[in-house]
Symmetry: C2
Subunit: 214 residues, 2 copies
């Protein structure tokens, strides 16, 4: 979504207080991430986001389709999901679990990635709109695309269980702060978790009720 | 923790409005679960819990060590964790993953179990005290005890990663409501997830940097 440029910015926009050349839209998105991360979806206001971005509230409405639209855009991955999926699906199939786990922690361990992840989790847990957005994102994006491209049975359930592992790790590492998971290196996490995602998303033998006899 | 009986209940306790014989302490805990589940830790008040339980607020203070104490007790599993650990550790080691997954979903799929789980997650995500309680619970309880009893390397990290899988599934099934995980039978979830917990908690070969060469 590429909105038209502002036809003329209101006179009371304090652009001078932001570094010259900084894009207004980017400044609003950055402020939205900070606000959603700190307060969650419900308690965040467009007015507060505008104040934080040092722009007139009218500009927020100009660039974004309300609070929900701003939320979706501010929560998006720092790289294009389509590119992410291509990269992950394109490499050797036997390493797809490792590429997924490593890519997620590379994004999440950056301060900006961590901030938007925490905002997403806080919001999805406390707000129905945010939960719906996360549901829809999960149904459409990375894990489901990978499982579908491989052709395992129950691709949507497997995508959900794989996403659950990563969301749970995000909770432990960034939200709850469970020390052993906070201190773990990405290599240690990859070594433990990559085989799990590999199995969920690519191994058709698992999940076929091998445990039915119990 | 078994508190002494109330030495004399205040006169304005409306015991008559609860079924005869219902234990005051149980009524308070039930009300606390309802309140924490609906509002999370911060927004819940002891006064509102007392009103819901139809007891005098002084009785809440008599039976419980403040809001934090009441939270810990109201969030506890419906069965004694020590008994749970014994049951899970006592059986054949090759089935420990399945027993864990099945036991958790048996508890969580009950209306009461689900309510307290959602309350715990909502509170841990939005409140530092609740997050600390969950951290401490995780460090002490089921997953860590199982990993330690088996003697795998990095037992605390493995416990954290196993707990992350289950917390993530709880998010998907009960909080976010991701349809394929909501609709899945316990047997389907066990078939997919039991081998994961089995590997994390009992297989010393995994997590030993098998992926180091990449």
């Amino acid at each position: 979504m590429t909105p038209a440029r502002a036809p003329g910015e209101p006179g009371n926009v304090r652009r001078g207080r932001r570094p010259a050349g900084q894009d207004t839209r980017t400044a609003i998105i950055d402020a939205a991430r900070t606000e959603f991360s700190a307060k969650g979806y419900d308690a965040s206001s467009l007015r507060a986001i505008a104040r934080l971005a040092e722009v007139d509230p009218a500009l927020v409405h100009h660039y974004f389709d309300g609070k929900a639209g701003l939320f979706v855009e501010s929560m998006s991955l720092p790289i294009n999901p389509a590119f992410l999926i291509d990269t992950i699906v394109a490499g050797p199939r036997e390493d797809v679990g490792e590429r997924l786990v490593r890519t997620f922690f590379d994004i999440w361990d950056s301060p900006q990635g961590r901030e938007r992840l925490v905002a997403l989790i806080r919001s999805a847990v406390s707000n129905d709109d945010a939960a719906r957005m996360l549901r829809e994102f999960l149904a459409r994006e990375v894990f489901t695309k990978v499982a579908e491209s491989v052709g395992v049975p129950q691709p949507h359930l497997r995508a959900g269980v794989a996403a659950a592992q990563m969301i749970g790790l995000a909770m432990m590492r960034y939200v709850i702060g469970f020390e052993p998971v906070v201190r773990a290196s990405v290599d240690d996490l990859v070594a433990l978790v990559a085989p799990t995602l590999q199995r969920y998303l690519t191994d058709p033998r698992n999940g076929d009720m091998a445990h039915q006899s119990h």
